[in-house]
Symmetry: C2
């Protein structure tokens, strides 16, 4: 634990930046003093925020730039015009070996585009995917892709399965994670052609790989599968649907517990238990979506994250560094024909 | 209300058939005595069940067949071999004008295939879609397609939007329902090509139609959109994800309220309020998915529905009959170029 860890931060990305970025970094350094940060952004805004955090003393270098990517910027524009933006410079620090990981709460599309341009994908990997973990009844699961790839071929899905499995071993620390493709039935004949093709290829892999076939939407929250693979269109909609359902049921519960005097009285006694339940589904500890498949660790924080949320995104990056994720994933894809060139697709 | 209503029932479809079918019919006749049923299936099994229900006296005709579609039957096999099955005969009763609607809790794929073969689609409609209503914070919404069409073109999605809008006017009794396409962002440039094409066509329709553009997954439960349109792959996964999330949060709440003596004591007081909340998200009143786009009313009950659930599926069929749904939907599609032949797709 005495090795120095170095993370670059996009100081200007996200709705609550730069405050949430600086305070989030301080929260992490309180428990992990051997981490240091390079923060890119407007020095005039960052400097007073940093100096107010004793935990950051001697642990932060601010690198000034007056350019930033906004949420309205189209990824293509950000990619062309944003070479001096706080986001791009923070990514380039990883490419140049100055930092071991980058964390940004900015525009997802721009982050993905810039990370691909700067870091490139791992050998054989066609497209990176976004993944995150979610709470379930059993243990956290990871799902991918969550929106980087609107349309996916069978090969893309197979590669996501391999990337996700390596992620689950490394970050969720599971020895033999179960992997399944999201589908509308569990029978082999169900669903889209690319999903069925991907299943056939995964069944035929000659590496240790616990492929469980198909999983339906109602099984996600049971937590019996560790890695759920789908295209970015479906994954993004499913993730947001889960968020919306949680907010809906939370609102109903709040309504119910203030609907009568009896209910309010009951809530006085059950309050601690209900707070504990809310902690179990608190999305903040799961903040930090990882861009998988790149030559470097890139973590995307939710754009609306507060300092606590942002600190969890930094922690996700730390876990990936400490587990030597990039080397492990390189080893995984070396042992398998990740281009699936031996496969004849129907 | 004195007009006679006649509904044909697949007496053998579903996990709890024939009991749930017969008892569900009795529940409906208790409140709507002018409804009569033709029940298809094994007379030896059905007759004693019917005779035990005083509410069904004089209101049921049993028509014997010893064939039935099982859940394992592939739709193609059911279609070929199941011409004398309880499901097919119940559908044919609608085609022959003997019944005004059919309700089945059997195999969805077989029901869809048989209904298309027997009833045919409405003029100009390429594919039927499955829809159902769901509770939200505001008022029920309907979503389609929920699994009949794994891949959809822009024209399919446009037709689903028109069918869904007519359904919302007729069944949810909304004057001017808002319609949106499910997508991964609200900007015009986001999402799959067919979704963007469908949006462009819907924006250009020259009929009164409240098209709201795109909706993301986290907005579904807010209830601000009345009709949510998507392909059957995504719709099926989203619907099941919502079901799974609800069960997950319900399990967490049950855990929380029995986690300590204080919590149990609190629950004593809040029990009525929490029961009321559970009623708000009880799926049973929303049982009864409708196959839209056919020349006749076909309602699919959840396969696992109990008698209460099945009775709601019958009630959904009743509302469609009483609102003269098929005529209304014919009128809607007459006024618009539903084949979208004037459209050049990108």
């Amino acid at each position: 634990m005495s090795t120095e860890l170095l993370i670059s931060l996009d100081g200007m990305g996200g709705d609550n930046a730069p405050r949430s970025v600086v305070r989030g970094a301080a929260l992490v350094r309180k428990e992990t003093p051997n981490v240091k940060f390079i923060i890119y952004g407007d020095k005039a805004a960052l400097k007073p925020l940093v100096s107010r955090q004793p935990a950051l003393r001697g642990g932060v270098e601010i690198r000034h730039t007056d350019q930033m990517v906004t949420n309205d910027d189209r990824p293509s524009k950000a990619l062309r015009a944003g070479r001096r933006s706080s986001m791009r410079l923070a990514i380039d620090a990883v490419r140049d070996g100055e930092a071991q990981a980058v964390v940004s709460a900015g525009n997802t599309g721009a982050l993905m585009g810039m990370a691909m341009a700067s870091l490139r994908t791992l050998p054989g990997i066609l497209r990176p995917a976004i993944t995150t973990t979610m709470p379930t009844l059993r243990r956290p699961v990871c799902m991918l892709d969550l929106g980087a790839n609107v349309e996916c071929s069978a090969i893309h899905l197979v590669q996501f399965a391999l990337l996700g499995e390596a992620f689950a071993r490394c970050v969720l620390e599971l020895e033999d994670p179960g992997v399944a493709l999201l589908n509308i039935g569990v029978e082999e004949t169900k669903g889209r052609q690319e999903v069925r093709d991907a299943a056939r290829i995964l069944r035929g892999l000659d590496i240790p790989f616990d492929f469980k076939g198909f999983i339906e939407g109602d099984e996600i929250a049971k937590g019996l599968i560790d890695v759920i693979v789908t295209d970015g269109y479906t994954g993004n909609i499913v993730l947001k649907t889960i968020e919306g359902s949680a907010l809906f049921l939370r609102a109903l519960l709040t309504d119910a517990l203030s609907s009568s005097l009896w209910a309010k009285f009951g809530y006085l006694f059950a309050a601690a238990a209900i707070r504990a339940m809310r902690r179990r589904v608190d999305p903040r500890p799961h903040n930090g979506a990882v861009l998988l498949g790149l030559n470097g660790i890139v973590v995307k924080s939710h754009g609306g994250a507060d300092e606590v949320g942002f600190s969890y995104a930094i922690r996700a990056a730390l876990r990936l560094i400490q587990n030597d994720f990039i080397s492990k994933i390189r080893d995984t894809i070396k042992t398998v024909d990740i281009s699936c060139q031996g496969e004849a697709l129907e």
